[in-house]
C-alpha cells in the first residue's frame, strides 16, 4: 500500500471532524470516499496530503512518514486536486500543466526534455494536446477540469487525491472525467476521490469507503458496501438498491418523502 493513515483524529477548534480513523489506499485502484456533508471527507484528504496536521495519528506514504518529508518530496509522492482549483492570472493550458513539474526542479535547474515529455504526455492523456496554446479561461468546464487533472498528471506522483472532481460539471463532462480516471488507474496510478453521486461511485470505484461522523462506517467493494441500511445510516435517507442494468453494480433509488411511489418492481438487491 502506497498510502495509509493510522489512528487519525482531527478537529476544528472544539469540533472533532476525524475520530481515530485508519485507512489504507490500495495501489492501482480507484477508491471513492462517500458520506454526508460535513462527515470529514475533505478533511481526510487534506490530512492525507499533509495540508492539515492531525491532532493524533500518522500518515505514511511509500514507506515514509508524511511529516518527515519536505514539501517537494511530498509533491513527488502524492498529488492533490482541491475541490475548486483557482487560477489568478492568464495562462495557456500548457503553461498551467508545466507548473506540475515544479517538484522536480531544484533552485536553478532548467526545463529539460523529461519535463517537456511529462507535459506532452499529460496533455495527450487528458486529450488536450490540440488546446495547449489556448487560454484556460476560454475552455469549457469539462476541458478546464481535464486541464487541472493534466497539471496533476505532469506532477508524476503515484497517488492522486481528488476532492469532488466532477462537482458542477454537466452529465457528459462527469462521465468524461471519470473515464479519464479509469484510464489513469490502468496506467498505474492509485486514485482516491470524493464523490457525492453514490451511483457513479458504485460504477467507477474498486473500493468504496463510507464515512460517518469522522469514522469509517463501512469499506469494501461497491457490492459489499452499498445497501439500503448503509444509505440510511450514512445519509439518513430511505432508499431501494437495485442492480444497474448496464454495469450490474449496485444502484441506489432514493425514496422521496413527498412524492408517492407510482410503480414498484420487485428487483431490489437488499
Amino acid at each position: 500500500m502506497s498510502l495509509f493513515c493510522e489512528n487519525i483524529s482531527s478537529s476544528y477548534g472544539e469540533h472533532k471532524v476525524l475520530n481515530n480513523l485508519s485507512l489504507s489506499i490500495k495501489d492501482k485502484q480507484i477508491t471513492v470516499l462517500v458520506g454526508a456533508n460535513g462527515c470529514g471527507k475533505s478533511t481526510l484528504l487534506n490530512v492525507l496530503a499533509g495540508h492539515l496536521t492531525p491532532v493524533q495519528g500518522t500518515v505514511n506514504i511509500q514507506g515514509n512518514l508524511l511529516e518527515k518529508l519536505t514539501a517537494k518530496q511530498k509533491a513527488k509522492a502524492l498529488a492533490l486536486l482541491p475541490q475548486h482549483p483557482q487560477l489568478y492570472s492568464e495562462m495557456t493550458v500548457s503553461e498551467l500543466v508545466a507548473l506540475g513539474r515544479f517538484p522536480h526542479h531544484g533552485l536553478i535547474k532548467r526545463w529539460t526534455a523529461i519535463d517537456q515529455q511529462a507535459v506532452d504526455e499529460a496533455l495527450a492523456q487528458t486529450g488536450l494536446s490540440e488546446f495547449e496554446h489556448k487560454n484556460l479561461a476560454s475552455l469549457s468546464g469539462g476541458q478546464q477540469q481535464r486541464a487541472w487533472i493534466a497539471l496533476v498528471l505532469a506532477q508524476d506522483a503515484d497517488v492522486i487525491l481528488l476532492d469532488e472532481p466532477i462537482n458542477h460539471l454537466d452529465l457528459s463532462y462527469q462521465i468524461e472525467i471519470l473515464d479519464l480516471l479509469v484510464n489513469l488507474k490502468l496506467a498505474g496510478k492509485s486514485i482516491l476521490l470524493v464523490l457525492h453521486d453514490i451511483n457513479l461511485a458504485s460504477r467507477y470505484a474498486d473500493t468504496i469507503v463510507a464515512l460517518k461522523n469522522g469514522q469509517i462506517y463501512q469499506q469494501g467493494t461497491p457490492e459489499q458496501v452499498i445497501d439500503k441500511s448503509m444509505i440510511k445510516a450514512v445519509f439518513n435517507q430511505q432508499a431501494q438498491v437495485i442492480r444497474d442494468p448496464l454495469y450490474l453494480t449496485p444502484m441506489v433509488l432514493t425514496i422521496s418523502q413527498s412524492l408517492p411511489i407510482k410503480q414498484h418492481k420487485e428487483q431490489s438487491l437488499c
Binding site: 487534506n46 496530503a49 495540508h51 519536505t70 514539501a71 517537494k72 511530498k74 509533491a75 513527488k76 498529488a79 492533490l80 486536486l81 482541491p82 475548486h84 482549483p85 483557482q86 487560477l87 489568478y88 492570472s89 492568464e90 495562462m91 495557456t92 503553461e95 507548473l99 506540475g100 515544479f102 517538484p103 526542479h105 533552485l107 536553478i108 496554446h133 506532477q155
Partner: protein, 336 residues
C-alpha cells in the same frame, strides 16, 4: 507568431531602447557632447569639464536611475504576484513611507548639531530596509490575522501609509532645518545628488537582490494558483515571507538614495504584463528594463525640458504615470 516569440522580440526591443537611452542620457543635456567625447569622458579621459559632467555627475546618476527604476518596478511586480492584488505596490503597502521613516529616523539619530552625519551613509539602505520591511510586516499581519481579503489588504496598506506619512512630517518638524530640507527633496524622489560612493554601496546589493528575485520566478508562477494547490505542488511555506523580504529590500535599495519615487512600482508591472504575455521570467525582465527606461526618461526630462530648473524625477514619473495608468485602466475595461 507564438506568444513566446512575440515576447522575446519585445524584450529585445526594450534592450535596444535602453541601449539607445544610455549614451543619449550621458551625452545630451544642458551641455551636450559628441559620442567620442562622451566615451572618453566616461572613463575620465576627456577634458576636465567633460569628465566632471559625464564621469562625475551624469554616469552615477544614470546608474542610480537604472538601479532605482528597475528595483522599484521589480518590487511592485513581486508584490502584485505575491498578493494577487493588481493594485499592490511598494507605495500602496506602506513600504516607501516605511523606508522614508527609516531614513529620517537614521538622519535624526545620527546628525550632529553642525549638520554632519555621524555614521557612514553605507548604513542608510539598511535603515530604509528596516522601515520598509516593518511596514510590510504590519500590513501583512493586520490583514492576515482577521478575515483576509483584497479590499482589507489595500485598506490596511493605505491606513499604515497614512500613519507613516504623519510620522514623516512629524520627524521633519521636530528635526533640524537641514533635515527638513533634505527630507523634502528625498520625498519627491530626487536623484541628481548621487555620487559614485552611493553607487558602490547600492550596486552589489542590487545585483544580489536581482539574482534572488529571478530565482523566485517559479514560486511566483505557483502563486498564481490557489494556496491549496500551490502547497500540493511543493511551494515552500516560507516563500511568501522570502518574497516579501525581497520586495522590501528592493524598495529600500530604490528609495534609500533616490527618494520616494511614485508610480514606478505600480505602473511598470502592469505595462510589462501587457507587453509580455508569456512567462513570468520574461515579464520580470521586461519589468526591470521598463523601470530603468521610465526613470531614465523621467530624469532626462526633468533636467533638460525645464532647464535651468531641475524637476525631481519623482514628479515626472507621477506626471507621466497618472495619464498612462488611467489609459491602461480604461483600455482594460473596454477589453473586458
Amino acid at each position: 507568431m507564438s506568444r513566446s516569440l512575440k515576447s522575446t522580440i519585445t524584450l529585445l526591443l526594450l534592450c535596444a531602447l535602453l541601449a539607445v537611452f544610455i549614451p543619449a542620457y550621458l551625452s545630451l543635456g544642458e551641455q551636450s557632447y559628441g559620442w567620442q567625447q562622451t566615451w572618453l569622458a566616461l572613463f575620465n579621459q576627456a577634458g576636465s569639464t567633460e569628465n566632471l559632467m559625464i564621469h562625475t555627475l551624469r554616469a552615477p546618476r544614470l546608474l542610480l536611475a537604472i538601479i532605482a527604476g528597475s528595483a522599484l518596478a521589480l518590487a511592485g511586480f513581486l508584490l502584485q504576484n505575491l498578493t494577487r492584488v493588481s493594485l499592490a505596490s511598494p507605495s500602496l503597502l506602506g513600504a516607501v513611507d516605511g523606508a522614508a521613516v527609516g531614513v529620517l529616523v537614521f538622519l535624526t539619530l545620527f546628525t550632529a548639531a553642525d549638520n554632519q552625519v555621524l555614521v557612514s551613509i553605507v548604513w542608510l539602505p539598511l535603515a530604509a530596509f528596516i522601515g520598509a520591511i516593518s511596514s510590510f510586516m504590519v500590513v501583512y499581519w493586520l490583514t492576515l490575522r482577521t478575515n483576509p481579503s483584497i479590499s482589507r489588504f489595500i485598506l490596511v496598506g493605505i491606513t499604515i501609509s497614512g500613519l507613516l506619512k504623519a510620522i514623516t512630517v512629524l520627524l521633519m518638524i521636530v528635526g533640524p532645518i537641514y533635515l527638513a530640507s533634505q527630507a523634502q527633496l528625498w520625498l519627491t524622489g530626487y536623484i541628481n545628488q548621487t555620487n559614485w560612493q552611493e553607487i558602490q554601496i547600492l550596486a552589489p546589493i542590487y545585483l544580489l537582490l536581482l539574482l534572488l528575485s529571478f530565482l523566485t520566478a517559479p514560486w511566483l508562477a505557483l502563486n498564481q494558483l490557489d494556496n491549496s494547490l500551490a502547497k500540493a505542488l511543493g511551494l515552500p511555506q516560507f516563500s511568501p515571507y522570502f518574497i516579501m523580504i525581497l520586495a522590501a529590500a528592493l524598495t529600500a535599495v530604490a528609495v534609500s538614495f533616490a527618494g520616494a519615487l511614485g508610480f514606478v512600482g505600480l505602473l511598470v508591472p502592469h505595462i510589462s504584463k501587457r507587453l509580455i504575455r508569456a512567462g513570468l521570467f520574461k515579464q520580470m525582465l521586461a519589468c526591470c528594463l521598463l523601470g530603468a527606461i521610465l526613470l531614465l526618461l523621467a530624469d532626462f526630462i526633468g533636467r533638460t525640458v525645464f532647464f535651468p530648473y531641475e524637476v525631481p524625477a519623482g514628479v515626472i514619473t507621477a506626471l507621466l504615470g497618472v495619464p498612462l495608468f488611467i489609459y491602461l485602466f480604461s483600455t482594460a475595461r473596454s477589453q473586458a
